[in-house]
């Protein structure tokens, strides 16, 4: 992990309210792994006060990309376009998805902005020679991002793209109809989705890694602000920013 000032190369809207920001950050780009995040000071002052965490979406040579929704002040500032000053960024942070392990087919499940880590994950899995299935859930078709992803199936709440319903329901149906060889699930998305997915994985006996979110003050393990309840070990909580963000679905209580 390192702290540096990096130039914003571009910011553009790539789907309904979803912005892609490209950052010239060679030192981070050379080290980052799929599932890791950046902690970004969106403006050089006390409002917003804290950094804002974003998954690395893609690596492009010396550049890193993140994608985000405008939800509050920090993302509003980022979406307003490159500022003259470079951004103060800490990264790469968190652990990473376990792409190297003992499995053959990777099942990527993303809800909403949970697609963010999937392009890098896809690239890593391809390098590791895994077969990839990607399931994307969104509110509606306008919010679907598929670039850099493989073998994509889509579910939308309103049925405006892919099947109507949740992405976990879609996966459940697919798992019922097909048989995968030594699959492993990788997921990122809203907590209710992850909870349902962890249950499905458990039922189906498929290993499952979840990338979690939490409000964070530091992102680097020094504030104890981002607990997630874990079932193993002597401690009740692990820290999302330092012990995660990726956790074994069996390990966490969501």
């Amino acid at each position: 992990m390192r702290q540096g000032f990096y130039r914003v190369e571009s910011v553009r809207e790539i789907a309904g309210n979803i912005h892609l920001l490209s950052l010239h950050a060679p030192q981070i780009a050379s080290a980052v792994r799929a599932g890791q995040f950046l902690n970004i000071k969106t403006r050089d002052m006390y409002l917003p006060l804290l950094r804002r965490p974003f998954s690395v979406y893609n690596r492009n040579g010396d550049s890193l990309e993140i994608i985000f929704n405008v939800v509050g002040l920090g993302t509003r500032i980022l979406a307003s376009g490159p500022s003259r000053e470079p951004l103060d960024v800490i990264g790469p942070l968190g652990n990473a998805f376990g792409t190297g392990g003992d499995f053959e087919e990777a099942v990527l499940v993303a809800g909403g902005l949970g697609i963010a880590p999937m392009p890098m994950l896809t690239a890593e899995l391809k390098r590791a020679g895994k077969k990839i299935h990607t399931y994307i859930g969104a509110r509606n078709g306008s919010q679907i991002v598929r670039e850099h992803m493989e073998n994509v199936s889509v579910a939308t709440d309103d049925g405006s793209a892919g099947s109507r319903g949740t992405v976990v329901d879609l996966l459940r149906t697919h798992l019922g109809n097909s048989s995968m060889t030594r699959p492993k699930i990788f997921s990122c998305g809203p907590t209710p989705m992850l909870r349902a997915l962890a249950a499905l994985a458990d039922e189906a006996g498929i290993p499952c890694e979840l990338s979690l979110e939490s409000p964070m003050a530091c992102g680097i393990g020094i504030c104890q602000g981002c607990p997630v309840e874990v079932k193993d070990g002597p401690r009740k909580y692990a820290l999302v920013c330092r012990d995660g963000t990726v956790f074994d679905g069996k390990r966490v209580v969501l």
């Binding site: 702290q3 000071k41 006390y46 409002l47 006060l49 409000p215 964070m216 530091c218 104890q224 602000g225």
Partner: protein, 314 residues
């Protein structure tokens, strides 16, 4: 080059900048992003006898110019600290101050006794002011008698630097300051966080699991300064000023108000090297202003003679 060293009881700090408890882990957690050898000292996360899980999520909310936390003193416990953290801390060339939190007077004494038997700890900061736990914390810190009693008991157990960390959530902090000074504390750390809360009005739920939490950051700096000023007028022992210190200018305000040293808290989350920059900045300021000793700045607030300060709170 100005002399930046300051003395608090028997403890000499190379400069008056420390990192505040709970905002820098156990002290050695972010070596890539900070060089603790350039600051005066590290105050560890509060340590209790047994490990504490802390409060359920959510523990953090951002507010205007500040943040609320409800960590609930989550910590690994003093035994694991001694075993796994202290050896690393010993290698640093900076003062190590162990912060202790407890839910009984005995627990304070027991934790301090354990630490006292170790090498490499230069002082203690006693947290009687955490707003986020049910036992100890504010129930101690808002009672001047218990606060003084804890000081008295601990004073007997160590000749090392003993700092009492007080809460701003009281009517007259000077009363508490006098109490702990009278029982032999070497210094007073001020302020711990201010009780606050935030509500998600869409869900009508508190944003923190424990409803209320502790407010920190730039938003509370004016409050912290006023408390430091009040305490500094009330007692002769050094005050360690804490609250919303983000840069050198903020640190100077606290020194001028009467603090002998300062601690950087929330700023570490935004910039883990904030304290190092402030230590360097104090040096530059002294040099630029021909101040030979940083301690000559302490308590130098010039108050207009024609105005009688409103001290209804004293």
């Amino acid at each position: 080059m100005a002399n930046l060293s300051v003395r608090i009881g028997s403890l000499k700090l190379k400069n008056p900048v420390l990192v505040a408890s709970g905002t820098f882990g156990y002290g050695g957690d972010v070596p890539d992003l900070s060089d603790v050898n350039t600051i005066g000292g590290i105050v560890t996360k509060s340590l209790s006898m047994k490990p504490r899980d802390g409060n359920p999520p959510d523990r953090i909310v951002e507010t205007a110019g500040g943040m609320l936390n409800s960590i609930g003193l989550a910590n690994i416990g003093v035994h694991e600290f001694i075993k796994n953290k202290l050896p690393g801390l010993r290698k640093f060339d900076t003062a190590i101050i162990a912060n202790i939190a407890a839910s009984s007077v005995e627990e304070y004494c027991d934790v301090l006794t354990l630490l006292e038997a170790q090498e490499g700890i230069h002082g203690y900061e006693i947290n009687v002011s955490c707003p986020n736990v049910k036992e100890g914390g504010l129930s101690f810190g808002t009672d001047p008698v218990i606060t003084a009693e804890i000081t008295r008991r601990l004073r007997k157990l160590t000749p090392k630097c003993l700092l009492m960390k007080l809460t701003p959530n009281v009517t007259h902090v000077s009363e508490f300051a006098r109490g702990v000074a009278g029982e032999g504390a070497d210094g007073i750390s001020l302020i711990n966080t201010v009780v606050g809360m935030a509500i998600d009005h869409r869900r009508r739920t508190p944003k923190l699991s424990t409803v209320t939490g502790g407010l920190s950051g730039p938003a509370i700096k004016p409050i912290a300064l006023a408390k430091v000023y009040e305490a500094a007028l009330a007692v002769k022992i050094p005050i360690i000023g804490i609250g919303g210190i983000m840069n050198t200018g903020d640190a100077l305000e606290f020194l001028i108000a009467g603090a002998t040293a300062i601690q950087v808290g929330t700023a570490n989350f935004i910039d883990p090297s904030a304290s190092m920059k402030i230590a360097a900045g104090l040096g530059e300021y002294c040099d630029a202003n021909n101040i030979a000793n940083v301690k000559d700045l302490v308590g130098t607030l010039k108050v207009r003679a024609d105005i009688s300060v409103v001290k209804s709170w004293l």
